[in-house]
Amino acid sequence: MNGRNLRNDLFYYLGILLICAPFLKMHTVYVPLVLLVAWGVRSCAAFAGESRTFSDIRLKTVNTLVAHQTLAVGVILSAALLLPFASSNYLIDVLTSAILYAILATALNITVGLTGVLVLGFIGFYGVGAYTTGILTAKFALCGFWIALPLSGLAAMLCGVLLGIPALRLKGDYLAVVTLGFGEIIRIFLTNLNGLTGGPNGILGIKRPSFGLFTLDHPRDFYWFSLAMLALIVLIVSRLANSRYGRSWVAIRENEMAAGALGINVFRKHLLSFSLSAFFGGIAGSLFAVKQGFISPDSFTFYESVLVLCMVVLGGIGNVIGSVTGALLLIVVPEFLREFSLYRMLVFGAVMIAFMVFRPNGLLGSRMITQEIQDREDDGQ
């Protein structure tokens, strides 16, 4: 170790101590703790930085998994089906939440992952869906759940189209902020349109769906129902991703100008993906409304939009199964961290950073087309 390194180290640790000092009120007991964390951060970053091969190896494992996809999905699905027999209502409830978020993440993945459009207010569509169901089935009791479910999707889709027509002409981060604004506008309207949405009180007494005489009242039944919906939506989205549409979306994501030059109508394809994504978001919202039985604007904050986006990125942008995994992780992990009580969110934040540093491509990586081409070129050489 030479002098320069030593000096760098010294500066690093002293700096960390300096910035933490005001908050720890100079309690010396915390000094070793801060130094330990600082050391941990540094060695993590160094490790992740030096060993990109580490993630390559991981990627290979993932690739084998992808190769045996049907088997893997089959095993996981049957495990998921049987799970309620072996677990408490608490776990079932957490997993049902995770499934609803998985639907949301899958839906968001259509725009963020496949078309490459960053959406920061996705929860707005979720809110529109949830409130449509709430208003139709409970507030004015106009119809049953089975009619409200598709209507919720359509209402969200309508919002998607109305927002998309002006907004999708924008690019990149400008578009992202407009969607952020959309999410906030929806939430503010939900809070203020008292006659329709119940204002901050929300809507109470939304009934669980029923098949004839059989009501999905038990958490377990509702779990299976949402699992079936998730499976259906994942199937639709993954079929779409591999269809003509999906390929043109990916083409737009990779190079909009080139895609346009190839005769793809960029704007219409954008709008299609945007409204589809909104539609599934609305469906998820409708499910959320009947699961909770109670909805209020508190559930549709910017933080939730961000959470869903995290799921997509964490799982691996553009990977449908990845979104589902991301949702599972981000809902289930904080539940396990409940034991840390006060330190729960602190640890959660740190885990998010560490995760991204170690796996910048997301958990399941993503088999981006460009990457495949890259691989092919590498093989060729």
Binding site: R58, T61, V62, L65, A86, S87, S88, N89, Y90, L91, D93, V94, S97, T191, N192, G199, P200, N201, G202, L204, P219, Q292, G293, F294, I295, S296, D298, S299, V332, E335, F336, R338, S341, L342, R344, M345
Partner: protein
């Protein structure tokens, strides 16, 4: 990947096991739910300390039914979805009764879970009428209701202050807006509402709304919301040269209001329960609380009494079984730090005497 699967399996196994171990040991578990993290974590801490104090006192006396009491905290982050998760966690862990939640928007969805599981829930602070209007037999609260509180504030404004022009500001929450509407309802025909405005919680700058309210020239300004925003509003209104006094509810009834608002809060009114600091029944509570956790928050004593009611009912029922316990709570005739508490058929406190407080020389004092 293999490691991840292994990890997932291990996690599932831990959950499955932890569920079973809970009920067999010789403890009685009670839950305390509120926002332990997030923007309003201060309320969660106040509540948890109150519950802790009660549990410690009972345990020092040897617990209840010969068993020690274990406190299970639950963090709902003031978010309905988390509240339901917490409720389900409590029921899975074999909690026999729950103190909480704080926000009405959390208590209401959680109450359904407790109702299905047959576990009693005693809220210490959810004042929204809807909570007990659901007519669940297991839901109780030791605090008042916003309609009672709105009536108290409205009557005070009309009868005592004899105001003619009132401006109403609320923070667009279940609590704030509900309270504001109840207040408005109780003003009667002789009073003109010159402004009805909502503000965004968490902001610092309320000068636009304050300017608007000031130009409407009211005799009294009502604020439905929490002290954080209340203090800022009062301060900014007075800084702009406004002179009308403010009136609020239990949400602004806190030492913090005086700190945030500074001298501008002088003359501010608030509706709340009668003074517990001077009541002899609360003397012991206040002393013990201060010794352990510092100055109690306004809702600490409510959480403390709610816990005591729950534990006393377990003792009275002689069982932790949900049905017997709920019946025991309904039948309870309890004298605690808050005074005398009995529940009506809905689960509300029979007498909830709201009185009006006023800030005089930087202290809240009960208006006689």
């Amino acid at each position: 990947m293999k490691k991840l699967i292994l990890l997932a399996v291990m996690c599932l196994a831990t959950v499955a096991c932890s569920k079973k171990t809970g009920q067999e040991t010789g403890v009685i578990k009670i839950g305390a739910a509120g926002q332990l993290t997030g923007p309003e974590a201060v309320f969660g801490a106040d509540m948890l300390n109150g519950v802790k104090l009660a549990v410690e006192e009972w345990n020092a006396k040897g617990g209840v039914l010969g068993k020690k009491i274990e406190l299970v905290p639950g963090d709902d982050q003031a978010e309905p979805r988390q509240a339901v998760a917490v409720a389900n966690k409590f029921t899975a862990e074999g909690v026999v009764g729950v103190v909480g939640h704080f926000n009405s928007s959390c208590s209401i969805p959680a109450s359904e879970v407790y109702h299905k599981a047959g576990i009693p829930q005693i809220s210490h602070a959810s004042t929204n009428p809807k909570l007990t209007d659901q007519n669940f037999d297991n839901v109780f609260r030791v605090c008042g209701r916003d309609d009672q509180q709105g009536k108290a504030a409205g009557n005070f404004a009309v009868q005592k202050l004899k105001v003619k022009r009132v401006a109403v500001i609320h923070d667009k929450t279940t609590y704030g807006q509900g309270f504001a509407e109840e207040f408005k309802k109780n003003l009667g025909a002789g009073v003109e509402v010159v402004a009805f405005e909502g503000i965004t919680k968490g902001e610092k700058d309320y000068s636009p709304v304050v300017t608007k309210v000031k130009s409407a020239n009211p005799d009294l300004i009502f604020f439905g919301g929490i002290f954080t925003e209340g203090g800022l509003l009062i301060k900014q209104y007075k800084a702009m040269g406004g002179t009308a006094p403010f009136i609020g509810g239990d949400g602004i009834m806190s030492e913090e209001l005086l700190k945030i608002g500074g001298p501008a809060t002088e003359g501010t009114y608030a509706t709340f329960g009668p003074d517990t600091k001077e009541v002899p029944s609360a003397k012991g509570f206040n002393e013990n609380y201060r010794k352990k956790y510092g100055e109690p928050g306004v809702y600490s004593v409510y959480a403390y009494d709610a816990t005591n009611i729950l534990l006393q009912s377990i003792k009275n029922a002689g069982a932790t079984d949900g049905k017997k316990l709920i019946a025991a709570i309904r039948a309870i005739d309890y004298s605690g730090a808050l005074g005398h508490i009995q529940f009506d058929a809905k689960g509300d406190v029979k007498e909830s005497p709201y009185v009006v407080w006023k800030v005089e020389s930087n202290k809240f004092k009960q208006v006689k």
